[in-house]
Assembly symmetry: C2
Homo-oligomer: 336 residues x 2
DNA sequence: TTGTATGCGTTATCAA
DNA sequence: TTGATAACGCATACAA
């Protein structure tokens, strides 16, 4: 048992106690072959007696190259979406004997840059990033140096790199068609900030499908700027209170869905207004909300697989697109 | 720009290019004083020209002692409770210039042990653990060696160490009294497995308060074994379907609450049965569920503060108990 | 203000 | 089957 003040036992200490050289002790403790069984036993005993625990920091340095660490830069780890990503990444990390460093950049480009730098200083063997709107060209050198940098949920700007996204357009298409099939024409699209890539993708798809369905002026049904549930609530409230209230609301993400639900609960007859949300959420079944669902854990897993697979920087970047799935609950209208 | 195959630029390289010694380059790049401004400038230029990025692995090894890493062993990072903890820990880590390694042990003692070992090999400067039921006496030596190990949400067994918990008993007391105040006598307590410390605490409090209120036989209202929402649903369904259905259900955690909600939705008149849940959750307001709430992010923060504050292993372990808060929504009965 | 020398605890090379 | 010795890249007494 180590005691405070006392140094921790080292491999050299184990070797000395076992009466062998450093290299032999190393061989034994790393399970390498070509060591006599008797020697092996003596080293093991010495290690246990001293309470030896290998120093992974020293090992990483000696080995050279990357450390056995993987980096993940999320927007906010407390957000269920990001923690689902983290969960998928973690599993792949585990399978590859890597430890995962998680960080949150609060959607702040400058903070993302700082975190990237810190993780690269740690010589991570791979980096998974949910990119903010900033430019990522600065990472070109690192990519060329062989560090796999993978972007997830949205692509980086100014850089060609491996990317994992979902089929946003397909998801929106399914949602709008679902509502249309159930007779809705006045469909409002409520979302986050237009700076966000996913918002733009989803809005574009919304306009496309509405156009295909004969609604050439869908732009007037679009509302943006709802970054949290509270803002979404007032945005939807405004729609319902306006001159031409929609009969259906398409919420661009789960925060908007939550806000929309509250707005609908606030007005008389709100339960007769249909609601479809992008992103599934807990208890959506109870609230009878039809959603566009996808597997965020799988998304993390795929990203981590790209980030851990050794690759040739010369090969063109890969893009993985995951499918979405419409989960109809009722007829698009909520049944409370 | 580094190119693949090429080694990464080192401090020595920067020093050489700037025509100074290693130590001087180190001084400049670490912002230490006592360097001529001209020298400083030359070193900076050399660093930029070479695309130098310090190697944190080497720095940690050279500095000796612990690495600038913090470890967190959660049950499952995809679980909102654990990711809230992670969020709090992450903020403290950031403030202390530490990087956070997050792991999930899936509530498996053996896996927790393995993860602990791996993190200690990484020489983490602190370790936050949500302990499983296994014994933790093996960590005594590490504690004595000066690594702050902090347990959060429940105490470790077989080891005296810093711990952060919430006031489970107070929370249950408030919940039962709330229901009692609103006229309920037949209150069922539905929870997870009795192996889980928090369950035992909460059940004990439930029985105490029921006893105080004159219900001496509350044991028959206790149901356990609901580890997920599905199991909770059938457990509650069984209660409602039994010979003497309760008029109120106290759910021991948010998974049970979700299951109970579904069970109540399944039966006629279910909306007249009161429900109070331990743990607040998203959209609880919409569903009209009264809850016992507490701040999981704060819990993580407090744990991380204990794990980062240098302390004397000789001082007795500290226990931080965080308050809970009853959030009444309606009269304890749901208003849908 | 600047530099020299040594150590951190491993892994890896190459020889014995 | 084993071992001596040199990296790995930086920090830090101590000197100049």
């Amino acid at each position: 048992m180590a005691v405070q003040g006392t140094r921790r036992p080292t491999l050299a200490g184990v070797a000395e106690r076992a009466g062998v050289s450093l290299k032999t002790a190393s061989r034994v403790l790393n399970g390498e072959p070509n060591v006599a069984e008797a020697t092996r036993e003596r080293v093991r005993e010495a290690a246990t007696a001293l309470g030896f625990r290998r120093n992974a920091v020293a090992a990483d340095l000696a080995r050279g190259g990357a450390s056995r660490l993987l980096g993940f830069i999320s927007g906010d780890i407390a957000n269920p979406f990001y923690s689902a990503l983290a969960s998928g990444i973690e599993r792949v990390a585990r399978d590859n004997d890597l430890q995962l460093i998680t960080t949150s950049c609060d959607e702040d480009p400058e903070r993302e840059r700082l975190l990237t730098e810190e993780l690269l200083e740690r010589r991570v063997g791979g980096l998974v990033v949910t990119p903010t709107t900033g430019d990522h060209a600065r990472l070109a050198g690192e990519l060329a140096a062989g560090t796999p940098v993978v972007f997830v949920d949205r692509p980086a700007s100014g850089l060609e790199a491996d990317t994992v996204v979902i089929d946003n357009r397909g998801g929106i298409r399914a949602a709008v068609r679902h509502l249309s099939y159930h007779g809705h024409r006045k469909i409002a699209f409520v979302g986050d900030n237009p700076e966000v890539w996913t918002f733009r993708e989803r809005r574009a798809a919304f306009l496309d499908v509405m156009d295909e369905l004969g609604n050439r002026d869908a732009q007037r049904w679009v509302r943006s700027g709802a970054h949290d549930a509270r803002e979404a609530r007032s945005l939807v409230a405004g729609l319902l209170d306006g001159p031409e209230p929609p009969t259906a609301v398409l919420a661009e993400n789960n925060r908007v869905t939550a806000g929309a639900l509250r707005a609908l609960a606030d007005v008389a007859g709100g339960e007769r207004i249909a609601l479809v949300g992008f992103d599934d959420f807990d208890l959506a079944d109870l609230l009878g909300v039809t959603v566009v669902s996808y597997d965020a854990v799988e998304m993390g897993r795929r990203a981590a697989e790209l980030a851990t697979s050794r690759y040739d920087p010369a090969t063109p970047p890969r893009t993985v697109t995951l499918e979405t799935r419409l989960i109809p609950r009722g007829t698009g209208e909520r049944r409370l």
